[in-house]
Amino acid sequence: MNINNIKKEFPIFDEKIQNNDLVYLDSANSSQKPKVVLDRINDFYSKQFSNVGRSIHYLAVAATNLYENTRISVQKYINAKDKNEIVFTKGATEALNLVANTLGQVILEPNDEILITELEHHSNYVPWHFLRKSKKVKIKFAEINEDGDIPLENIEKEITNKTKVIAITHLSNVTGAVLPIKEITQLAHSKGIVVVVDGCQGGPHLKLDMQDLDCDFYAISCHKMYGPTGLGVLYGKKKWLEELPPYQGGGGMINEVKKDRISYGELPNKYEAGTMATAQVIAFDQSIKFLESIGIENIIKHEKELIEYGQEILKKNNSVKLIGNPKERGGVLSFTVEGVHPHDIATILDETGVAIRAGHHCCQILHDKLGISASARASLGVYNTKDDLDKLNDGINNCKKIFGL
């Protein structure tokens, strides 16, 4: 599939949004969906629908196979060792809650330390905060440097012999910084520390290779990877998923249920209680196939060109201040405009069909650190073009005009 022509695979770009062509620069929030994914959802529901794993009639068997096929596709896509290391969740947020909760039950003692970073999304902070309350653990924050990066040293210097978990983003949804997960994992493992990666932005923008990264857990958000909403993936090393307790209890995750005792099922059932997001899982297979048909290397190259072009034009635009200047930047350009609040920028851009996000992007800690309460963010997907970034720049100029700057 040719990336230069990819917009046409996404039905939404055929629509006029308030009489404008849609310039969608909010993919870090959620990506648009290609037709193949929508067709799969529709086909599955209208021709093949059944719940999975429970009944043995024809439709149920077929659905179960399709469901398990996605597990295998994901396994291959992220190069996990075993298909049972893939757990479907309702989203990356649930995946991170699952890890925090179950690790908390098993490996954490009062005064143990969890090391996160100033870049973390609330979804990779609040679940650990819960443990601060329930388990009396401490949370430490590795600091960003002036480029909005977290160099390895900044992690290293926060590690103490109390550090049990490092929970860290692969790619910041604000500065776009790509963190050195492999090196962090090496360091952490040499000290017996568990590494949990928030891969929400890594998923769509980076090559995923679990065996290479060697992290213990990796959380993925399917709706940011051209997949359906209401679905996430937790990758977890088998030894952990086997050792940790289940997170939610219910149908499908049990082995034997008696009045006085319950034993739990094996992987992957143990972590998939209740009816799962069947249709979404089955359709996500098409998202993976879509990504594979373009090739992640081509996506990375394409987005890199766009990011460089975007940085170039925004740097030329005086009164625009880019947030962060990381060594490696993926998918995200956050900025402020002197004299215009991000919300006003977003509203004015929206008037011409340019959709960006304004706010703290669920990263209040980072915004506090930067001394701002909000920023504007343009984030990319495979379908974006240089033209989209030109329109972004035009819109910023329009803001300046309206605000008399």
Binding site: H343, D344, S373
Partner: protein, 154 residues
């Protein structure tokens, strides 16, 4: 939609140079408000004297042009009013932003009404309504002195 209606001169001017910014001395009522989804926040301070008149009112906070202008205009208009008058103005303003085509109260002078009506541009921008109303809801809370934080997340 009409950006010109949203960003009228008067809004941009108040947004840029908000009146009554800061913490008024000897305030005896205050409240904080915020919009957790976007990070906007405002802190309203007021001094209500024994005759229940708003002797002074001010605000601190950061936010977009709409929210700063709204807080600025609000404090300007509320200063010197009795608490009952203030309540009437607040109700009138919130009613106008929500559904009424015009302001009804006759406490305000015509040119004050014109100023307030400038904020009616947000009606066409549902997500921005919160920007315009946050400081007003916070003022209500300060006057009731509930001590509870206001959030516009509903």
């Amino acid at each position: 939609m009409n950006l010109k209606e949203l960003y009228q001169e008067i809004i941009l001017e108040h947004g840029k140079n908000p009146r009554n910014l800061g913490k008024t001395s000897n305030f005896n009522k205050d409240a904080k408000g915020d919009n957790p989804l976007c990070g906007d926040n405002v802190h309203v301070y007021l001094r209500l004297n024994e005759q229940r008149k708003v002797e002074d009112i001010s605000f601190e906070g950061s936010g977009c042009a709409i929210s700063m202008a709204s807080a600025s205009i609000m404090t300007d208009l509320i200063k010197g009013k009795s608490d009952n008058e203030a309540k009437e103005i607040i109700e009138d303003f919130l009613g106008m932003i929500k559904e009424n085509p015009e302001l009804k109260s006759n406490i305000l002078k015509e040119d004050d009404k014109t100023k307030l009506m400038c904020l009616s541009g947000v009606k066409q921008y549902p997500m921005r309504v919160k920007c315009a109303t946050l400081s007003w809801h916070t003022l209500v809370s300060a006057m009731e002195n509930k001590g509870k934080k206001v959030s516009t997340e509903n």
